[in-house]
C-alpha cells in the first residue's frame, strides 16, 4: 500500500471530526491527497466501515446495512418534534430562507424554540440578512446537517430535482401567476373553469 494512502487513512481515521481534503493535505505537509482519498473510498467500499464524503469533508463510518447490529448500544438521538422536522426540511430545500418564508409555507407561526433546536443541533445557522424592509435574518443548513443525514451535498436531498421541476420550491405567487396564465389560455372552455374541481398547472 502506498505510503501516502496509508498516511491519509491514518489521518482521517484518527481525526475527531470530518476533514476536508485541504485540511488532510495541510496535515500531511501539503501532499496532494484527492487520488489517495478516492483509492481509499474504493478500498473500503463493501466493507463494514466506509470512507464517505459529506459537504466536502471526509470521514469513516459504519456501513448503513449494519445499523441493526450497532443501534442498540448507542444512545438514542433526541427526537425532533414534527414542527422542527418540517422547518428543517423547509430550510434545507429552500435555503436561504427567512422565518416569514418558513411560516408562509407552514401556515402557522413558528415558535422561537423550534429554530433554536435546529441551531443548537448545529444543522442550521444564520447566514445573513435579506436586503428587504426589516432586514430579516436568513437561515441555511450546515455541513453538519449534510453529514448527519448522509448527504454528499444539497443536490442529494431526496426528491429535490422532482420538487424543483414540479415548481413546488417556487413561491405560491409565482406558481399562481403561471397557473392563471394557463387557465387564461383555456378560458375558451367556460365549463372547465367553472367546475368545482379545480386544477392547477
Amino acid at each position: 500500500m502506498d505510503d501516502l494512502v496509508r498516511a491519509v487513512e491514518a489521518t482521517v481515521f484518527a481525526a475527531e471530526e470530518p476533514l476536508t481534503a485541504e485540511a488532510i493535505s495541510a496535515h500531511l505537509g501539503g501532499a496532494e491527497v484527492k487520488a489517495a482519498l478516492a483509492e481509499l473510498a474504493e478500498t473500503y467500499a463493501g466493507r463494514g466501515v466506509q470512507l464517505v464524503e459529506r459537504a466536502k469533508r471526509w470521514h469513516f463510518q459504519t456501513a448503513p446495512d449494519l445499523a441493526h447490529l450497532l443501534r442498540r448500544e448507542q444512545q438514542q438521538l433526541r427526537r425532533l418534534s414534527r414542527a422542527a422536522t418540517e422547518v428543517l426540511a423547509i430550510v434545507a430545500y429552500h435555503e436561504p430562507v427567512s422565518r416569514a418564508e418558513i411560516e408562509s409555507i407552514r401556515g402557522v407561526q413558528t415558535a422561537k424554540g423550534t429554530l433554536d433546536v435546529l441551531l443548537e443541533a448545529g444543522w442550521v445557522r444564520i447566514v445573513g440578512r435579506r436586503e428587504v424592509p426589516g432586514r430579516p435574518v436568513i437561515y441555511a443548513t450546515t455541513p453538519a446537517f449534510l453529514t448527519h443525514f448522509g448527504l454528499e451535498s444539497r443536490r442529494d436531498l431526496p426528491g429535490i430535482d422532482e420538487l424543483r421541476a414540479a415548481g413546488l420550491l417556487d413561491p405560491v405567487e409565482d406558481a399562481l401567476a403561471d397557473a392563471l396564465a394557463t387557465i387564461g389560455a383555456e378560458a375558451e372552455e367556460p365549463d372547465t373553469a367553472l367546475a368545482s374541481d379545480d386544477e392547477s398547472a
Binding site: 448507542q74 426540511a89 436531498l157 367553472l194
Partner: protein, 266 residues
C-alpha cells in the same frame, strides 16, 4: 413528478409522527384532538389527504365542506377553537359562496384564483412534509451509521521558537539599570562672579560716568565664556539692586534690546 405527488408519497411514516388523522372518525374524541393540528392549513391538508386523491385533483368545494362541518361540530361541542381556525372557516365560507355564484357577478380576485392559491399552498406544505419524512428516513449518523468510537484525535502542538538578540538583551539591562538607579545631581565646580563682587564692580563703574552705558560694557573683559554668562547674570541683578536703591536707572527700548544703565546723582 407523478410519483412524488401521488397520494402514497403523501402518507407519512407512522414512526416519525402521527397526526390526529390517525384517530379519524366521527366521534367527539376527534374534536378533542384539535390541538394536535398545527393550525388550519395543517387540518386542511389532513382532510385533503383523506380524499385519497392527488392534491392537484382535489375538490376544493368538498374540502371546504369538510372543514366547515368540522368546525361546526367542534362549536356544537362547545370546544374552544383558536381564532385562526374561525378566521379560516369564515374565509372558506366566503370562498364557497363565491365559487357557487354565477361567473359574471364575481369580483377580483376571482374565487378560482383564491381556490387555486389554497391548493398551491397545500401542495407545498405536503411536499415539505414528504421531504421531511424522507430526510428522517435516511441513514442518520448516530442512529444508523456510526463514526469511530474512540478516535485518537489529531493534535497540533505549537512550539515557540523564541527570538532575542544580543543587542536587545544588553539594551534591556541598560534600561533596567537606568530606570532603577537613583537620580544623582552633580554640581560642577566652575568660575562664577558672585552678586557681591558684581555689585561692587557696577557701583564703582557708575561712579565714573553719568552717560548711558550698555550693561555688557560693565562685564570684566575675561575670555572665558562661562564666566561671562555668570557675570552677565550677576551684573544684571546688581543693576536691579542699584536701581532699587535709587543709585542708577535702567532703560530698554524694546524687548530683548540692549539694556542700558546710568548712574544717578544722589
Amino acid at each position: 413528478m407523478n410519483e412524488l405527488l401521488d397520494s402514497p408519497a403523501l402518507t407519512l411514516p407512522d414512526d416519525d409522527w402521527t397526526g390526529p388523522a390517525g384517530a379519524a372518525g366521527e366521534d367527539a374524541a376527534l374534536y378533542l384532538e384539535l390541538d394536535g393540528w398545527e393550525g388550519p392549513l395543517d387540518l386542511l391538508l389532513d382532510l385533503a389527504r383523506r380524499q385519497k386523491v392527488d392534491l392537484r385533483r382535489i375538490s376544493i368545494l368538498g374540502l371546504v365542506d369538510q372543514y366547515l362541518t368540522y368546525i361546526d361540530r367542534a362549536e356544537a361541542l362547545r370546544l374552544e377553537l383558536a381564532a385562526d381556525y374561525l378566521v379560516m372557516a369564515a374565509w372558506l365560507a366566503y370562498l364557497k359562496s363565491a365559487l357557487l355564484l354565477p361567473r359574471d357577478e364575481q369580483v377580483d380576485p376571482s374565487p378560482e384564483e383564491l381556490a387555486l392559491r389554497l391548493q398551491l399552498r397545500l401542495q407545498r406544505l405536503a411536499a415539505m412534509r414528504d421531504a421531511a419524512a424522507r430526510l428522517l428516513a435516511r441513514d442518520r449518523l448516530g442512529r444508523d451509521v456510526f463514526v469511530r468510537g474512540a478516535p485518537e484525535g489529531l493534535r497540533i502542538d505549537k512550539q515557540h521558537i523564541w527570538q532575542c538578540d544580543w543587542f536587545a538583551l544588553v539594551q534591556a539591562y541598560g534600561q533596567v539599570k537606568a530606570r532603577t538607579q537613583p537620580v544623582v545631581h552633580m554640581v560642577r565646580d566652575r568660575l562664577v562672579m558672585t552678586l557681591d563682587s558684581a555689585l561692587a564692580r557696577v557701583a564703582a563703574m557708575l561712579g565714573v560716568s553719568l552717560d548711558w552705558m550698555e550693561i555688557r560694557d560693565f562685564l570684566p573683559p575675561h575670555a572665558d565664556p562661562r564666566l561671562k554668562r555668570s557675570a552677565l547674570a550677576s551684573s544684571f541683578v546688581a543693576a536691579l539692586e542699584l536701581a532699587r536703591l535709587g543709585k542708577a536707572e535702567l532703560a530698554q527700548d524694546e524687548p530683548f534690546g540692549p539694556l542700558r544703565l546710568r548712574g544717578l546723582k544722589p
